[in-house]
Symmetry: C3
């Protein structure tokens, strides 16, 4: 779906209707999003109210609870002048027995242009995209992808590292169940980074090497070569099986702490998709220290989502005019 | 309350403060709303942001769960530039023992101009209208009325049928407990349609003929003469008694399916106030087929609500200036 | 933190970043807020949409349920053109184990300028203010303060009384657990009123006289000298112990009713922070009668909150430009 000739991709030439996952995107598409986000970051410093999405309606359709992602998308839309509506699964038509697709078609019929969807089922956004004409942005679908998280992590690293050429990024934790890991892997490998995934054997999906990543089971083995470390969340609320013996052992083997930081590269970037469990994936001194990118990730998330919303809204407008 | 002289009703001459039910409205008032909605439909095709309600505050006061009606009203208000606030019964002052009227007076005191209310008690919006100065829009009150649903159903039929003269509309299902049926009956009979209500004897209110409708107990008896068929929702979440033996039997006797569609008029309009129960009131092939107006109803609902909000907001402004 | 030279305080010279409690404010700061609120009240009569907060983002962070305060803040922000986002404790990151401060830092990182916070712990807003750069407005923190309620009560009294010099205001009820009482005491004593606190001995905090108030245990003793009476809410949902024998006895001893009103000054102002318990703190005839200021309090609350939001937003802008 990406532009096929050799001209560089520009906002005007963006042709994708949906953002379902980073696996689908070409490198130039990812770079365009990051560049466009950087423009919004500059514009927002003057705190001027923008109107790129004036007249556009964005619906948040969250079937899983979320504060930060939903709020970030909602703010991104509002700051660009869009009208927004929120749907939550509870108290909605879904509880009256309506099907998922009927809910989406209904939302679309109300004149919604873009649907931001979070769902516990991998592939739900993609299924939706086949039934509606409005643009779909995946805000996390089960263990599949969380593309805007992958993009904001990449944005944050790129801003500090300059480029990914010759750089090593290590993802630590539960690689197997993490949509954040998956979206990070797609983005970072396409952008040219060396990606290491590191976690207990039970939490590394077999065959992950085929995605172009290196596997490590001991954090300390890969600590020193890492330019950026992304500490995945231990999802206590999802964890059903017993993939590691205890929290204390996890923190000991895979947690980021002051001792490990001292042994890492001096300017190593420490990322973590929040909400963080202080003392588990990361100790407070590191989370609040100078290497931590945690709050920058949140800030950048706004700009990345502004960029994604704007690109898809422009594409919607083109398609609507063509109809 | 309607204009009493012989000049035609116009937006400027609209005098009603509230929209409580279609029983109260004159034919010319209903037609004005539908005409005004048609204007908004035309305007929205260009997706320009309108500002008819700039400076107006609309409060959604929903004491029953609802996604589609609440969202439709909320979007209608936002697309006209209003400020909106949402109230829900849970977590509100109501749970601190405040009376219903005190809640409404409080909302009004905050500078709200229009209150959209859904409540399980028939007459709750009317009671409210006697205590507040702001405009009240009934978004469904128990088994009484759901006027904007009646209006959007009438709008959708009129758009396709051109006029109701000589046309037959059949309402199928639980006539007795349906506020949608009631509002449809008032609108359609006033607009000149022949209205048939069709359902099991247990679900037809005794004496309904006095409203000017024809009663049928067998769907197949009235199928062929119908120009439009409105399939009421089987409200599993409300149904307390056992008004029909089984879902399968209901679907067999009163459900719309491919076989019945083949025996109906070729251009028969199939309507259903969502959310639909696929396979109960309507089979998927009919719901998704060319005769189905289900998604058009949703789209038109937005325009009808824009029209109602605009007419009542204008009236509020006149009254506020006169004070 | 207030201006220290002798020039009169103006909007331009306002220097406070947060509104944590009225204990902190100087008399001229309180008066500036009330004067600024009066300006907004005048402006709102023309129902023009204002844009004082265009480009500003206001987050509502409510850890306790609240309809009226949250809605009032939200409307105040929207009517000044701000973008608003709502956070509630349930379904948020808080339920994923995130700390309170991390939640606030995250909200700030999203580009939020002002945080309106309600929390059950006294001091939570103050703690927040030490960790974030954005402005904090306390919307009620446990039994500590509820500054905008104190300000709107003072605004309502001042508007009718003209000045507090030589005037007596009586606060009736549970002084001990009431943040409203505390904020009223700070505001009214600073503005020059004589303040009487009146309630059963169990509900008067020992040593409250040090705040410059007079204590009474019998309502009838102080009824006749009061120019304004503020009837605190009996908070059935908070009351854990048994501080008074029965509701009937409370109403008899401390409730405002027609008999007491006849014995009071003819123009006595009757205030009550809603939601009211009709028949407990106040009988319906008084609540709905000509002395009652209850709905004026709600209306004025909007203007007071507009004033506070505007002053803090201006200050934020100054600080952001200085960075």
């Amino acid at each position: 779906m990406a532009a096929t000739n050799s001209e560089p991709l520009t906002i005007e030439r963006w042709q994708r209707r949906h953002l379902l996952g980073l696996q689908d995107l070409q490198r130039d598409e990812i770079e365009l999003i990051l560049d466009h986000a950087a423009e919004f970051k500059k514009l927002q410093q003057s705190r001027v109210k923008l109107d790129h999405l004036r007249g556009v309606v964005v619906a948040n359709l969250f079937f899983e609870p979320s504060t930060r992602t939903r709020t970030s998308f909602s703010l991104a839309a509002k700051r660009l002048g869009a009208d927004t509506v929120d749907f939550t699964a509870s108290g909605s038509s879904v509880s009256k027995g309506e099907t998922f697709i009927d809910t989406a078609l209904t939302i679309e019929a109300m004149g919604v242009d873009l649907v931001v969807i979070r769902h516990s089922s991998p592939g739900a956004p993609e299924m939706l995209s086949r039934h509606v004409k409005c643009g779909i942005l995946n805000a996390g679908d089960g263990t599949h992808e969380h593309p805007t998280q992958g993009l904001l992590d990449a944005f944050t690293m790129r801003e500090k590292l300059g480029s990914f050429e010759g750089k090593t990024v290590t993802l630590v934790g539960d690689i197997k169940h993490s949509r954040v890991a998956r979206s990070n892997i797609w983005a970072l490998t396409k952008l040219g980074a060396k990606v290491i995934v590191c976690g207990p054997a039970t939490l590394i999906p077999p065959g992950v090497e085929r995605l172009g990543v290196t596997v490590a089971h001991r954090f300390d083995d890969v600590l020193q070569e890492s330019d950026a470390i992304n500490l995945l969340r231990v999802q206590f609320e999802r964890q059903r099986g017993a993939f590691f013996p205890s929290i204390a052992e996890y923190a000991h083997l895979f947690g980021m702490n002051g001792d490990r930081l001292r042994r890492a590269k001096p300017n190593v970037l420490i990322l973590a998709p929040g909400p963080i469990n202080r003392g588990v994936e990361i100790t407070p001194d590191v989370a609040d220290g100078p290497n931590s990118q945690i709050l920058q990730q949140v800030s950048n998330g706004l700009f990345v989502r502004m960029a994604c919303l704007h690109l898809l809204a422009r594409r919607q407008q083109q398609l609507q005019e063509a109809r």
